[in-house]
Symmetry: C2
């Protein structure tokens, strides 16, 4: 992916000779490795990409993925695959790096153990943090990336539409999560993009709750936050429901969150600061009876990871750009009672935004 390498180098100091992206052991893999090398299959533990200023890449791959690496490299002429045993990587790296004096690394996803090994191997090298450059380049998607993200969001949206029909009294949070993930996989996902959140009742007050064996009973609210990977790209969607007798307060909470989401969406266009998107949603919530109950940033970039580089919080000055893909997900959390979050995935267009996720956002009160 010569263009991607060049875009990253454009943001680095002119003195930088090379960029090294190194994977440790699962889950400590640098997702940028798969940005530089678009390979559909393989784990690539211990593999390393050395990218040069001219856009070319030396890729050091273990025998465990040699076949995939070689196939993928055949359609990307900038990449030379070197098949190495994991232990041989440092010596092989030395050759590819030649007399490079200044080498960039992705501090955000490189383990410190890898850094220490590299620093020992090349004690004279000046190491440069490329994580800001990589974050910014990865944030603006190419058309092909948007298509994968759209497909990932479509898979999630179809399942979102089906959630109400899956609800059964007595089912556990884990049961519902299993059903949702199965349907995403049947629709072509290669797996969930993060650990599915299904929170019944008071559990919904915790944004990162993980499902357990709590059973569904009539008269609770439900938060489902989930997403699919499609060809390594993520979706991330939240829908909130009510099971059984309606609750006027939770309905009001949902309506407030809907208005907050729309207010955030209305701000989105190239040039606006990320914090403005957050603040628009926060304002709606803080002017409602639920003041102070939004306890997280209102969105985050998505791409090769579900939390892909940056968030939309009250202090984020980064500007929104055309081609960025991110979530818009205000929520209101009432400890002891539950929560409501609505989360959609959007792509920034030249004049505003377009939804990638399409499931209805309105509050569904499902008969128990």
């Amino acid at each position: 992916m010569k263009d991607r390498v060049r875009r990253i180098f454009d943001r680095l100091d002119a003195s930088v000779d090379a960029l090294v992206v190194a994977n440790a052991v699962d889950p400590h893999l640098d997702q940028s490795f798969f940005y530089l090398f678009d390979v559909p299959s393989g784990l690539f533990e211990g593999s390393v990409a050395v990218a040069h200023r001219d856009g070319s890449i030396d890729l050091f791959s273990s025998p465990l993925e040699a076949q995939s690496a070689e196939e993928a490299a055949r359609s990307d002429r900038g990449i030379t695959v070197h098949k190495v045993e994991r232990d041989a990587t440092p010596a092989a790296l030395g050759q590819a790096l030649g007399d490079a004096k200044s080498i960039a690394l992705n501090f955000a996803e490189l383990t410190h153990g890898w850094f220490a090994r590299l620093d020992k191997l090349r004690p004279e090298t000046s190491w440069v943090d490329a994580s800001e450059a990589i974050r910014k380049v990865r944030a603006v998607k190419e058309a092909g990336e948007v298509e994968r993200l759209r497909k990932a969001a479509e898979i999630g949206s179809k399942v979102g539409v089906e959630i109400p029909s899956m609800l059964r009294k007595g089912m556990t949070e884990l049961d519902l999560a299993a059903e949702m993930e199965y349907r995403m996989n049947r629709l072509g996902a290669s797996g969930r993009s993060f650990s599915t959140i299904v929170a019944f009742g008071a559990h919904g007050a915790e944004p990162h709750f993980q499902p357990g064996s709590t059973k569904l009973e009539a008269g609770v609210s439900i938060v489902c936050d989930y997403g699919a990977f499609y060809r390594r790209y993520a979706s991330d969607i939240t829908r909130s429901f009510r099971f059984g007798p309606a609750d006027p307060e939770m309905r009001q909470v949902h309506e407030t969150v809907e208005r907050a989401q729309q207010a955030a969406l209305d701000t989105i266009r190239p040039g606006v600061a990320a914090k403005e998107v957050h603040l628009a949603a926060a304002k709606v919530i803080d002017e409602s009876p639920f003041k102070g109950r939004l306890i997280h940033g209102v969105g985050h970039s998505i791409g090769l990871a579900v939390h892909d580089g940056w968030g939309y919080g009250p202090k984020v000055e980064d500007k929104v750009e055309e081609g960025m893909v991110f979530t818009v997900e205000p929520g209101i959390y009432l400890p002891g009672k539950g929560g409501v979050r609505i989360e959609d995935d959007i792509v920034v267009t030249s004049k505003g935004y377009e939804f990638l996720s399409t499931a209805p956002r309105g509050y569904l009160e499902v008969a128990s």
Copy 2:
């Protein structure tokens, strides 16, 4: 988990004042965080544990998981939870670390970005690599950990028994993976422990192949490598099948792998070097017509991660100890034709080993 903290400190230099375990953004979470803090729910991005020599822990958690953190800490009196905004963490950390001069870090799972931030915060500190100590302590499981691993393996084994009945002409690799994952989740898994490998035909020659849209046809071999998470602990099982007309060569391959696995298993007892386990399997394969076709280490530790700290390769001198849990998984890979791998999870006992996974290991030739 005071005992765990103390066991880690026992392996560190007496001058070390504190151990810091810091999470970055998903997937760059240090699994040791969940070793020190046994919390069933929550993602804990950006959260940090500061462990002290007396076994106590200061835990800095974001509001996103505050409820889970506080609940879990109530049953673990050594832990004090500090609820902080992510941005406030450095200042809060400073307080907990006091005048500590020598601080240990888990280089293997800490991002270099986190290290750079800590080093800037405390430029006078001497940083010590605790990854070897942590790896060794985590490798020997407590009874409660073995029970979770056993449950994770049971879930995988039940699904392994069912795989032959799931096979249908025309189904894709992704279809089969979806079905396997669904059944694991229905049996109580909180998800797959790694990206499920389903490889039809020649794909089986690549150990880390990821399933795609290739359809099942009669006359191919199938490799299924998969596992479940149960209460954060992983299983990892591989079974290989033949769909449709038998193939004498692949049957011979399978028999050779079975013998190799048994040879490896027969070496397992406390005190034997890890490399002996590998070499026993490699010898069987290298004395067969498939010499040189074992292209990976014959096993790895499992625990809070599926690749949990170390492997069983030809050069690994570490000694096997009672309470260790690892996989035994020789394979033979024939490029262009396919592969066979058999993988089981075992726990080391005082005299030998016990299987955690139980699905039949024999070669199943399934009618197409």
